[in-house]
């Protein structure tokens, strides 16, 4: 949450808190209403800032305000005053985040103090552990959806059956149920962020040890894949990172002689490509020295007539690579057999691309899990559909000389005012908006024969829309 909002929260809270306290002491006829409103406003602010426990406590106060005597409300209010005071003194929101454990316990209200449901996030040491934080955030989102579902159900219960309000709520409930499904499915996935962090760390360590200047670039680490695959790749990542620095990037003198920048470049880049997630680990080093590799192959008793592909394949042989890890050629393959095994177990594969003297790429391809795709909804000539969102950018005018893309079964719209740019070309649309990760269902015949269509998804109003893959 941004620092400006935190300051704004403190400022406004210090106006509202005295208003509430004044109402409690005034004994006016409408003191309850005034106090309740103060609690309510503060509750909305706290909840929106993500101070869940404080929000829950203020909700309790608001509810209690209808009947509890002023004295017990005052005690409850003081707990809030003290938390805000501490946050103000320390200029840190920590006390507001940790609210229940610290403050409400010290000032028990008329009811028992609620057990902190999110105690795990209150412990700063635990909150810093990224793996847990991701899981907790996902879970919180799911719980928020459940909360909204319950509220909407209550609204539905008060609406007249079949009335426009009832119909609208019914539609909203259907879309919420779909969202809940998606969020529950997300819990089984894990982003590549942890792996990317581990990778960067290992690259930097190796670069320092070997005294090679290296720049590490991370892209697409927000992409999610099945949690098990992430766990299998985790122990292998440091090896791969180290290999790239040790066996890929040349010593500075060699790079200079080859007319390359002295600082080597190592990339960890993930992207969604059709139904797969492609992770490319690339270094701009010397590639594979095929002559040396052939010598090594012969020495290990491999056939003499191996072609280039056959030679590169040797890097995936565990015995071949681990025989002599100090050898700059064979050492390259350390861990690659295990990476391939993990990818194949998940239904994917690992391949290598390289050019001697220029670059080396390890390409890990893994099927996208559970048919979850990042989608972008678009409108072309009044028709709504979705495309797989793998790197589109919005433009007000077509970039010069761009190749105009079309979707086979949809007539192009020459009046569209938005151009979506992709590495393959531009697509002209009337309107567009990103949808985030969505569960895509397989198409059933005869729709599965639609050119470029990969499935359909249910939009917010329950209408099925076709998903196209233009990559």
């Amino acid at each position: 949450m941004n620092a400006e909002y935190f300051t704004l929260f403190l400022e406004e809270a210090s106006e509202i808190l005295p208003e509430g306290a004044r109402a409690l002491q005034s004994g006016d006829a409408n003191w309850r209403d005034e106090f309740m409103r103060a609690a309510h406003t503060l509750k909305g602010m706290a909840a929106t800032m993500g101070y869940k426990e404080l929000g829950a406590w203020l909700h309790k106060i608001e509810t209690a305000a209808a009947e509890q005597p002023a004295a017990s409300l005052q005690k409850m209010w003081q707990a809030v005053e003290s938390a805000v005071g501490i946050a103000q003194a320390t200029r840190s929101p920590q006390r507001l985040v940790d609210f229940v454990a610290a403050d409400a316990a010290a000032a028990p209200g008329p009811e028992t103090v609620p057990t902190p449901a999110h105690q795990a996030t209150s412990d700063p040491a635990v909150a810093r552990s990224s793996a847990l934080r991701v899981a907790v955030d996902d879970l919180d989102q799911l719980l928020d959806t459940v909360g909204e579902l319950r509220t909407r159900l209550r609204v539905l219960g008060q609406a007249e059956f079949g009335s426009p309000l009832w119909q609208r709520e019914w539609r909203a409930l259907r879309s919420l149920a779909a969202r809940q499904n998606r969020q529950a499915a997300m819990l089984r996935l894990s982003s590549l962020r942890d792996l990317a962090r581990l990778f960067r760390q290992a690259v930097n360590e190796a670069a320092e040890q070997l005294d090679k200047p290296v720049h590490c670039v991370i892209r697409g680490d927000g992409i999610r894949i099945a949690r098990e695959v992430v766990e299998q790749l985790r122990p292998l990542i440091p090896h791969i990172a180290r290999n790239a620095v040790a066996h890929g990037i040349e010593p500075v003198e060699t790079r200079r002689a080859r007319n390359k920048p002295e600082t080597g470049m190592i990339e960890f880049a993930a992207e969604q490509r059709g139904g797969n997630v492609l992770l490319v680990i690339r270094d701009d080093g010397g590639g594979i020295d095929l002559a040396r590799l052939r010598e090594k192959a012969l020495a290990s008793g491999k056939p003499a007539d191996l072609d280039e592909t056959g030679l590169v394949e040797l890097l995936f042989e565990p015995g071949f690579s681990t025989k002599d890890t100090t050898d700059s050629v064979a050492g390259r393959g350390v861990g690659m057999d295990a990476v391939r095994a993990a990818a194949r177990a998940a239904g994917g594969d690992v391949t290598v691309r390289h050019q001697q003297g220029h670059f080396f790429e390890l390409r890990v391809e893994i099927p996208a899990p559970l048919s979850m795709f990042h989608l972008r909804e678009i409108e072309i000539g009044g028709r709504r559909l979705a495309i797989i969102d793998d790197g589109w950018t919005e433009r007000d005018a077509p970039p010069e000389g761009a190749n105009e893309l079309t979707i086979a079964s949809i007539p192009p719209d020459h009046n569209g005012r938005i151009w979506l740019e992709h590495r393959r070309g531009v697509l002209r649309v009337n309107a567009q908006w990103p949808l985030g990760a969505i569960h895509v269902h397989p198409l059933t015949p005869p729709l599965d024969r639609l050119d470029g269509a990969v499935g359909f998804y249910l939009s917010d109003d329950g209408t099925p829309r076709i998903v196209y893959d233009l990559s």
Partner: protein, 125 residues
């Protein structure tokens, strides 16, 4: 989305929430033309500004969001109003929707929820 920036009036008694909504809508191409801190101000500003959209808090001093919604709709029955409200105010939300509000968002709101609700209410005829 329409091609011109939709003009929006934000109504909430908490400055913090007005600021958050303002930032959120502004980054998505909305033009925030006014802010009101209670129902009376909201009705008056609606009359002066004729915005394309209103985000309306429910519980506010002087005149609450439901009364303000009724007042605005009685002046302009095509007004597009999105209620921004907390859990526990179901009957007020239902009242506002029956009075003609287009959609509602619950606090704490997420960016996606606000944008979905505002978009929907601008599209509905």
């Amino acid at each position: 989305m329409t091609n011109h920036s939709p003009r929006v009036l934000i109504v909430d008694d908490a400055r913090l929430l007005r600021q958050m909504l303002k930032d959120l809508l502004a980054t998505d191409g909305f033009d925030v033309v006014g802010e009101a801190a209670n129902g009376e101000e909201a009705v008056q500003l609606y009359h002066e500004l004729k915005p394309d959209l209103v985000t309306m808090d429910v519980m506010m001093p002087r005149m609450n969001g439901v009364e303000a919604t009724r007042a605005i709709l009685s002046e302009d029955r095509n007004a597009r109003i999105v209620m921004v409200s907390s859990v526990g105010q179901e009957s007020l939300i239902a009242e506002a929707l029956e009075a003609g509000a287009r959609a509602y968002v619950l606090k704490p709101f997420s960016r996606d929820d606000v944008l979905a609700a505002t978009r929907r209410s601008l599209e509905d005829r």
